[in-house]
Symmetry: C2
Subunit: 526 residues, 2 copies
Amino acid sequence: MKKVYIYDTTLRDGSQSAGISFSVQDKIRIAQKLDELGIDFIEGGWPGATPKEDEFFKEARSIKFANSKLAAFGSTPSVDSQVSNDPILKGLLASETLYVTIFGKTWDLHVKAVLKTSLKENLKMIGESIEYLKKKGRRVMFDAEHFFDGYEENPKYAVEAIEVAVNAGAECIILCDTNGGALTSRVFDVVREVKNNVNIDLGIHTHNDGEMAVANSIAAVSAGCVQVQGTFNGYGERCGNANLVSIAPALRFKLGFDVLSELALKNFTEVSNFIAEVANMKPNDSQSYTGKNAFAHKAGVHINAMMKNSKTYEHIEPDKVGNTRRLLISELSGKSSIIAKAEERGVAIGKNPDEAKKILKEVQALENEGYQFELAEASLILLMERVYSVEKKYFTIEELRVIVEKHVDGKIESEATVKVNINGEIRHTVAEGDGPVHAMDRALRKALNEFFPSLNNMRLTDFSVRVLDEKAGTAAKVRVLVQSQDENTSWWTVGVSENIIDASARALIDSIEYKFLKDEEGASKK
Amino acid sequence: MKKVYIYDTTLRDGSQSAGISFSVQDKIRIAQKLDELGIDFIEGGWPGATPKEDEFFKEARSIKFANSKLAAFGSTPSVDSQVSNDPILKGLLASETLYVTIFGKTWDLHVKAVLKTSLKENLKMIGESIEYLKKKGRRVMFDAEHFFDGYEENPKYAVEAIEVAVNAGAECIILCDTNGGALTSRVFDVVREVKNNVNIDLGIHTHNDGEMAVANSIAAVSAGCVQVQGTFNGYGERCGNANLVSIAPALRFKLGFDVLSELALKNFTEVSNFIAEVANMKPNDSQSYTGKNAFAHKAGVHINAMMKNSKTYEHIEPDKVGNTRRLLISELSGKSSIIAKAEERGVAIGKNPDEAKKILKEVQALENEGYQFELAEASLILLMERVYSVEKKYFTIEELRVIVEKHVDGKIESEATVKVNINGEIRHTVAEGDGPVHAMDRALRKALNEFFPSLNNMRLTDFSVRVLDEKAGTAAKVRVLVQSQDENTSWWTVGVSENIIDASARALIDSIEYKFLKDEEGASKK
């Protein structure tokens, strides 16, 4: 098996994503995760760009990476600066990483229009800066910026630029599709032509502006590249960078390259979600391989076939990337989907199609109201429990009041009052909170804690609100999804109402009920 | 220029997306939009699958499509059924479309494991059903389901299946990568091989499970396919279908095929957003070509270069697909980005770098608190106005109170009280609403309407809430983004607070202030 190296730039190019802003600690956490995974190179940032970047490299020095090499990123010096006195190169050296990656211009348009220097001067800058970094004991990789665009317009110059980098001591030349618009067949041909002309390890760095970054990276490896640069979840400026989540499994499982280990790939779903969490980005549910829906089946005919043979509608086994198969229940589902879902839960309702029908009907009625169970499985499970099991009603809310007041000095108060009936025992509690949901959560816990102490281990981790576009034009309904987690797992619940407080309360109450149900089932299994 | 036909299946395969559920009216609206755009074929649905599908085809009959042909979708009959008596074929005929597309099995595994019939019987079903539909006056296209997987395992049978379809009268054979795992180079080779063996128009239908659906579709066209099936925004089951939004511009602008018109492509951003809106899906901001961030530049060096020559960081001109360039302001931005943004607004602050510095500092401070201006440009503009213009404070809120009560009978009441100061005049108003945000909105309008009657033309169209993960572990801050629109445009504003009501109020107030600012600027331009 031929080795292909993974060079992760989530911390550098990924942080250019609209909406991403990593703290130093975020970057440290991600770097450690990537190291655990066995990523070959981690590009940590651009030293000197902001104080945060410098702090990261300083903190990173005290970390012992078991598998990964940390690389610092920068560029050729500013025009007219001396290599020994250039702030960019100084920053790179101050980062104290063994590996440094610098980018240089290989597209003549950029040399003229952006650097505003001569083609010759640009080549000199590339050569001198690499030589200087080598002299200082660094191992240097060269990002040939805009290589594919440059190659189309002035192939001689583009190749000359990388030859200069090779002669100066760069040990890997990364061909970059910086603007992300290259076509797959061209990437393959150009890599092959360069490979035939330049005797050095080649890497590939693509962007997703044409929605082809993954295919382009794979074509480049097929044509001879031995390093792939990309980011987790495809984060990056504009349409993102090449998505390592889709590239690595394809290279190993479909093309037989030696890239990461099978064990590492089994952690891909977890790592993909972890990085989304640290980046504070909503996970992309339809992301290939690791998305929540990547192996989720909705159409009746598909579910039917899947139950006969999973290979019929899955391109790889979800388990290989740590993902799981899901059967979605919606108004399009047939009875067989409900039965399959029940079997997934270990409940045999197959013998009673009437119950399946009853559940389906209730799902359809609630989806008409705006509920969406595909996204909130815990609420669906509670609904199924109510239909075909003894109803597990742990508590009921009899009264709920929320008051929020904001005064002229900007001070805000939030207070929630709940009257809760726990099997006939009434608890009437009130609590303040940092907001109305927090206040409700605290008031509910005050009422329930003595009966259900396990509530202490559960916390709300995310919620989302969506205005449902009502055709009638009246004030819109909202759908609230709440994610909760305890020490073992996390789950989503849903609430719909014209009132955001009520919708939140519904989702919150479902999340607590699901916690109790889950604990009870766990206890009965032991 | 060689013609390539676009076959849209947003209404059929796209509706299999987790989270999508079209009403009949939704489907009609989308079909009309696609017709306006000049899409060649619109797959309307699977008649007979649900009453909704039948209703759609019934309603569609009264619509005169100017450009598009409507197609009904179905499959070969159930095993052992007579073509003349088969419910699937009956449904197709009842839809009364001239074009019908049926899928049949071309992968032997599916014939054996799912249909549980003989390979021979499957071929017979394909032939007989196409012949029957032809006899009934229909023009038939044949979706060769799982063709690429079938071709790898039993190429002889896969090709035999499509030969049967051709001989029975199918006028186009669509090669399907149903499981979405095919590699681009294989798609190219297989299409070419089939093209050399079968004398008929070929189409391509791919899924995105390997994140290569766009590249695979383009490779297939390069190898000889003349029809591309896909969906808008790549909607579809699991990881989605091939995204027409990325395919059509690449085929026309990069490969020179005759596909849609240049005018149609100029409407792509609008149509992509329209379909997301009808589907009630959040637009994918990083979507290629039409995403909000597709031409958004964040890195300081990029913005610098873009200002010199836009070709340096854009693979096509955004205008060609109706999109626009955006410069993102964030803590990574330099002063030059702020100045560029101000110039975008037609304000010359370039001469006063101190003001740019001041804005940048305030942006950084607010982003530290959790604000995000990349997503809420209207709030950024208000912030800039406050710094470098005469402050336009149209009104101030002196007191705000919201009460939500839910009673044992399920009845809910929401009431908001505001005390508003409009240039010294005080209005103290109270209103009920369907929820607290609605109540606040109404109370504010009650107070402001007499001063600003244009408020009547503005409405809130979307809002999103995000819990900001606070490292300290205290009750989380939330960020609320509000989208508003009037008859001319739409805009996003942002509010951050530990209190969801307060965060909503801040975003709401910004959205109203932006409306007034915008109206005033519009008026001064006239």
